[in-house]
């Protein structure tokens, strides 16, 4: 069950991102595109570790987390294409969106900002005695941002049910982790600096991430305070669509396998037949194709509505 769900979410991310990169190259998507290529396991596993009432604030690399929450490929395409009925109604692009009804907060570009926001959501749960958890992500690069520190410290001293997923994917844009921090072992740092238990896990192993994430979520839910996990991966593409990532050392590329292939190998061991796997792939591909068709047919935003909703309660 979970394994198939993991597979589906990861595959959707992979396939949707493939389409998106192609559309971007064709000039049919404006602005920039980011993928989470090779990090799909982390996004899927952490998203699926949450219960329906939990909330999450994903970033750019965590498209599969959206799928785990019930967001559809059509939603994602609509946002990339800037459609008028997409999650941000064309107001923001690419993965810069949330889906409030699914407990997904919209991505904010300023790295680190979502850490305190997530802590605040968890604080609300604690105040009200609700057994809910708030989860967010930050990159190895973003770990240097002041807001991350402030948020982690608040979470720890307030003992709120928050879970932090550290995406150690070796780079922040072009800058390798060693040039961002003295000790690149962020799980050691989270434990030693903020007293937030942090487990380091191979981020290409969906099942391992899922185990660790589920434990972290359940400990947080049980009132044991904030939890963290550090998923070690390699950012598979460049930073964004325009970045060929020529700076990534080849030996690094060799060190990290494909998380989808890895999960599929496992599914085979579990007894899944080749035909069944192919069917899963076909289903995902069909969902993606249908989502794109849907999104392409969607209306452009109406410029007359630009000023609507600046305020929840406009002043007279």
């Amino acid at each position: 069950m979970t394994r198939l769900a993991l597979h589906r979410c990861m595959l959707l991310q992979r396939l949707v991102e493939e389409r998106i990169v192609a559309l971007y190259r064709q000039g049919r998507i404006a602005g920039s595109v980011y993928t989470g290529y090779m990090q799909e396991a982390v996004a899927a596993a952490t998203g699926l570790a949450l219960a329906p009432g939990d909330v999450v604030a994903p970033l750019n690399r965590e498209q599969a987390c959206h799928y785990a929450r019930g967001v559809t490929p059509a939603d994602v395409f609509r946002n990339f294409l800037g459609k008028g009925d997409g999650p941000t109604r064309g107001r923001d692009g690419n993965m810069h969106f949330g889906v409030p009804a699914r407990g997904v907060f919209p991505l904010v570009s300023m790295l680190g900002d979502l850490v305190p926001v997530t802590v605040g959501a968890a604080l609300a749960f604690k105040r009200r005695g609700e057994p809910r958890v708030a989860l967010t992500y930050f990159g190895d690069g973003a770990s240097s941002v002041g807001d991350v520190h402030e948020g982690l410290n608040l979470a720890a001293v307030w003992r709120v049910p928050a879970v932090f997923v550290v995406q150690s994917n070796q780079y922040a844009y072009s800058t390798p982790t060693e040039r961002q921090m003295a000790n690149t072992n962020l799980s050691e740092r989270l434990t030693g600096g903020w007293s937030i238990p942090c487990v380091r896990v191979d981020g290409t192993d969906a099942l391992a991430v899922y185990e660790v994430a589920r434990d972290a979520v359940e400990r947080a839910r049980a009132g044991e305070g904030p939890q963290a996990l550090e998923a070690v991966t390699l950012r598979g593409h460049g930073h964004a669509g325009h970045d060929a990532a020529a700076y990534v050392a080849n030996e690094l590329r060799l060190r990290f396998g494909d998380p989808i292939e890895r999960l599929e190998a496992r599914l085979r061991l579990d007894g899944l037949e080749e035909g069944e796997l192919a069917a899963l792939r076909d289903d995902a591909a069909a969902e993606v194709a249908a989502g794109l068709a849907d999104a392409e047919a969607a209306p452009d935003p109406n410029p007359a509505t630009l000023e609507d909703g600046v305020y929840a309660t406009p002043l007279p």
Partner: protein
């Protein structure tokens, strides 16, 4: 509701409520009437806050509703937004408004843009004592509202009377948008007035004619209101208290200027920043034909707020300076 009204009146006999007391009352009543309201800030719990605004609230409402924070303005302002996302109505206190610079990013990024981008409402009030005349110097006496005047998605409120302090704060807490609520320190214990009753609300976004007049309009807010009233003594001058300084009640400004044909903007923020620029731009564009004199501005020079009394007294607009400017405006 009844209870809080009664207690309020018992605590503060009519006419003797301070500006600060009105704010305390508004917080207390909001905490009593709405479970979703809670307070966040440095030393606001058992200590009652740097200015004593939250005194007594921790005793009544406890740790879960009056939350002492570590020193982390970005962090706890961000946390307030997160709690608001979950349906709470956090009221944040910044120890001094000057420190809003430390929470700037969360406010203009998460606070200002989220509803427009996603439809998620973030009902957070950020209260902060601001302004000079208490010898606070460059880091404890400034007027940071210009950083937020003009920012789409934010509302900025600066009460100038005891009744408004209560009524605007209640409205701000009930409002669904992020509201910056700047409380002028000089008014905290100096201004006294009637407790308006716990049902009192002052709508956001609506200016108030504090004193009617026909020969000129002073557009001002916060400590400027009292200053303008003193300076205008004996003159046929209308004093308009903006109350909400962003978005600005343009209609009220234009209505008054249409009547008086002369306008002076008075603010404690330096130069033409914030309200001054916006109001002068407005009257220049929309009231050009009705003006009988160039609009005037009284505001401090473009320096940080100085500490030493002879310097600060020169820096801040005085009743005499406002009076002189008014006389020049009327004589034009």
């Amino acid at each position: 509701m009844h209870l809080s009204g009664e207690v309020a009146e018992r605590d503060a006999p009519p006419g003797s409520m301070t500006f600060l007391g009105a704010i305390t009352h508004a917080l207390r009543d909001a905490l009593r009437e709405d479970e979703r309201v809670f307070l966040l800030g440095e030393d606001i719990g058992h200590f009652g806050g740097a200015f004593g605004v939250t005194k007594g609230l921790w005793e009544e409402f406890g740790d879960a509703r009056v939350v002492d924070t570590p020193i982390a303005e970005e962090g706890f302002v961000g946390a307030a937004f997160g709690a608001a996302w979950m349906g709470e109505r956090p009221v944040v206190e910044l120890q001094f408004a000057d420190f809003v610079s430390c929470a700037f990013d969360q406010i203009v990024t998460v606070g200002a843009k989220t509803h427009w981008r996603s439809g998620i409402a973030l009902p957070v009030v950020i209260r902060a004592p601001f302004g000079g005349s208490v010898r606070g110097g460059p880091f404890h006496a400034s007027c940071p509202e210009p950083s937020f005047v003009g920012v789409p998605g934010l509302k900025v409120v600066c009460p100038g009377s005891v009744g408004d302090a209560y009524g605007l704060l209640r409205s701000a807490i009930e409002d669904d948008d992020p509201v910056l609520f700047f409380e002028h320190k000089a008014l905290y214990r100096r201004l006294r007035g009637e407790f308006p009753g716990s049902g009192h609300r002052v709508p956001l976004g609506r200016a108030r004619v504090v004193r009617a007049g026909a020969a000129a309009t002073v557009v001002t807010y916060a400590a400027g209101v009292d200053l303008a009233l003193r300076a205008a003594d004996g003159l046929d001058v209308e004093v308009l208290d903006l109350r909400t300084v962003w978005p600005i009640d343009e209609e009220a400004v234009l209505r008054s200027v249409a009547k008086t044909s002369r306008v002076l903007v008075l603010q404690e923020a330096a130069g033409a920043t914030g309200v001054a620029g916006h109001v002068l731009a407005l009257v220049a564009r929309a009231a050009f034909e009705s003006l009988d004199a160039p609009p005037a501005l009284v505001s401090p020079p473009a320096t940080p707020v100085p500490f030493a009394p002879p310097l600060e007294d020169t820096y801040l607009p005085s009743p005499e300076r406002v009076r002189r400017a008014l006389e020049e405006l009327l004589d034009y």
